[in-house]
């Protein structure tokens, strides 16, 4: 009985450690960056909701009428994971389900995922309706872009 208890305790601790190890570290700060000409503003909640609708293609244009060009980041990158968790508030399965539905009903596809922050910065600088997520430390260097809002990966 005691051996059984010990094994159970060991298994529990091991599982907890593995879970902690597998949980991605999102302790960094992130920024949603838009083109410098983008005049949309509001409180954090309003901005976050707007970004979610545009990214999920529930809306195709910014409130000012500029066509939205959303960009994602590389799958499983810290930026994309933080974006999905804290801005979209959806699990990967829910996001995949959303795109499956839109693909079959309207032929819509998910936003392009960009690996390099600098290439994302160029796209945002070139397109008035573009936006994407970067590390806060990378945001200041984006020419032609500005930070819409920042959020914590905690």
């Amino acid at each position: 009985m005691r051996t059984l208890f010990s094994k159970f305790a060991l298994a529990t601790v091991t599982a907890a450690v593995l879970t902690m190890m597998s949980t991605p570290a999102l302790a960094e700060n992130f920024a949603i960056v838009v083109n410098a000409e983008n005049g949309f503003s509001g409180d954090q909640g309003t901005l976050q909701t707007q970004i979610k609708r545009l990214y999920l293609k529930e809306q195709s244009a910014w409130p000012g009428g500029i066509e939205s060009i959303p960009f994602g980041r590389e799958e499983a990158s810290p930026e994309q994971m933080a974006f999905e968790q804290f801005i979209l508030g959806m699990s990967s399965a829910e996001i995949q389900g959303h795109w499956l539905k839109l693909k079959q009903i309207r032929g819509e596809t998910p936003p392009r995922g960009i690996g390099s922050a600098r290439i994302l910065a160029r796209q945002i600088g070139k397109n008035p309706g573009a936006f994407g997520v970067v590390l806060s430390s990378e945001a200041a260097a984006i020419a032609g872009g500005k930070v819409l809002f920042e959020f914590s990966g905690n």
């Binding site: 809306q59 195709s60 699990s91 995949q96 499956l100 693909k103 009903i105 309207r106 032929g107 390099s116």
Partner: protein, 441 residues
């Protein structure tokens, strides 16, 4: 590297600083000394001494001035060098990152294309192709006999082309080998069998529309589109559905028990967010299957409370079911969708008013619970009364669905179908077990 540069500079500034201070001290001493010397001694000698000291002071000042100039130029050159070094390093990093991204992109494209030909759209600015395969095997235990079959194989190709900034084209072409469960008693309820001989391979253009989009609020579809009523008919595709057997009022496929699954004509639709809520509408004028000479008009209004996860829809349509007889009809319906957290709950109800035929009534309620990201359990109660002899039936379905990967949807469903007793016709039960899978790409 930059840290090293910074340390070296500090050493440099220290040495130069010391030299500067020494020079200032010497100059001060030289300037002060003649003043002190004037206090005593011969005036001529004193004048000569003063001149000498003045010359020495002038020389020291010149030396000091040249030292300061050289210090300034040295400092300026170091500043430029530091800026250049930082900017070059940053540029190198950026170039490295871009080259890496380009290499990744080229590698991805190469692995997809290799030496094969690249497909181009003739005129579209963007072309997306996808599709799915849906397969089902069914066991039906009826009142009179038991049947089993691999009764459904559907391949559907989806193509979306962007024709311009505001114009899109979407086509869903289906290749169907379908043997639906049929019943052979006078009301079509007993002795189930699979309609193998009656259902050869069918190719059906399920959807083919072109769309003009002015903005989110105003879009116009022309062509063949999914009749925009309710919840399940709009979701429509098996890959999206927990139960690929749609509710009774949407069977047979395609038919128009209450309304047709598909319409041919024009559909104006749009949506607008009002705060955290969303309003959407559809308004169409279209012909239905088997009745191309009559235009039906209808639409749907929906309002979503996003925070609560609730959507309410109102549906209505009016038209003529037949081109050969008087069969005007009107449909009124409502739908409620609750979708929050692990729960999804779909409900739809419809009632019709028919010319020269009894009214029809249909509803279903379908709660579903997501056990994990991959497993979902659901239940559906589905009622239909066509108003005709033996036309009342209900179904209870329970199912478990599994998505091992995003592109595959496996399901196990048990359905108990009960057709109620009617004048001269006994009740009939059928127990249907179905395994199905949908693969999409």
């Amino acid at each position: 590297m930059s840290g090293q540069i910074k340390v070296d500079n500090m050493h440099g500034y220290g040495a130069k600083g010391r030299r500067f201070l020494q020079s200032v001290a010497v100059a001060a001493l030289l300037i002060a000394t003649p003043g002190l010397a004037l206090a005593d001694g011969d005036p001529d000698e004193q004048m000569i001494a003063m001149q000498q000291k003045l010359e020495q002071a002038m020389a020291a000042i010149q030396q000091l001035s040249s030292t300061v100039t050289s210090l300034q130029s040295e400092l300026a050159s170091q500043k430029v060098a530091t800026t250049k070094t930082t900017s070059n390093a940053d540029m190198m990093l950026e170039l490295d990152e871009r080259v890496e991204e380009l290499e990744d992109t080229v590698d991805t494209i190469d692995s997809r294309v290799g030496s094969r030909a690249v497909a181009n759209a003739f005129d579209a600015t963007k072309l997306d192709i996808g599709g799915f395969v849906d397969i089902a095997t069914t066991l039906a235990i009826g009142e009179d006999k038991t049947e089993a079959a691999f009764n459904r194989e559907v391949f559907e190709l989806l193509v979306k082309a962007k024709l311009g900034n505001s114009w899109d084209l979407f086509v869903a072409q289906a290749f169907i080998r379908n043997a639906p469960l049929r019943f052979s008693d006078p009301a079509g309820r007993r002795s189930p069998f699979f309609a193998n001989n009656n259902s050869p391979v069918v190719t059906d253009t399920v959807i083919a529309w072109a769309q003009y989009s002015k903005n989110d609020m105003f879009n116009v579809q022309f062509g063949r589109f999914i009749t925009p009523h309710g919840i399940i008919n709009i979701e429509h595709f098996p890959a999206n559905l927990l139960d690929p057997e749609q509710p009774q009022f949407l069977r047979p496929f395609p038919g128009q028990t209450i309304f047709a699954n598909f319409s041919d004509g024009l559909n104006v639709h749009g949506s607008k967010y009002v705060g955290n809520n969303k309003f959407s509408y559809n308004a169409y004028a279209a012909a239905w299957a088997g009745n191309s000479s009559n235009i039906n008009v209808g639409g749907r209004l929906a309002y979503s409370f996003e925070d609560a996860g609730l959507t309410f829809g109102l549906n209505g349509t009016y038209g003529d079911r037949s081109s050969t007889r008087d069969a005007n009809f009107a449909v009124l319906g409502a739908d409620v969708l609750f979708q929050k957290g692990r729960w999804t709950w779909k409900n739809e109800v419809y009632v019709t008013d028919e010319e020269n035929a009894p009214s029809k009534y249909a509803f279903y309620t379908m709660p579903a619970y997501k056990l994990t990201d991959k497993w979902t359990a659901f239940y559906r109660f589905d009622y239909l009364d066509t108003g005709l002899l033996g036309g009342e039936s209900y179904e209870n379905a329970v199912g478990l669905t599994f998505r091992p990967i995003f592109n595959a949807h496996l399901r196990g469903i048990y359905r108990w179908r009960h057709a109620t007793r009617d004048a001269g016709i006994p009740a009939a039960d059928t127990h249907v077990f179905q395994l199905s899978t949908t693969f999409n790409f």
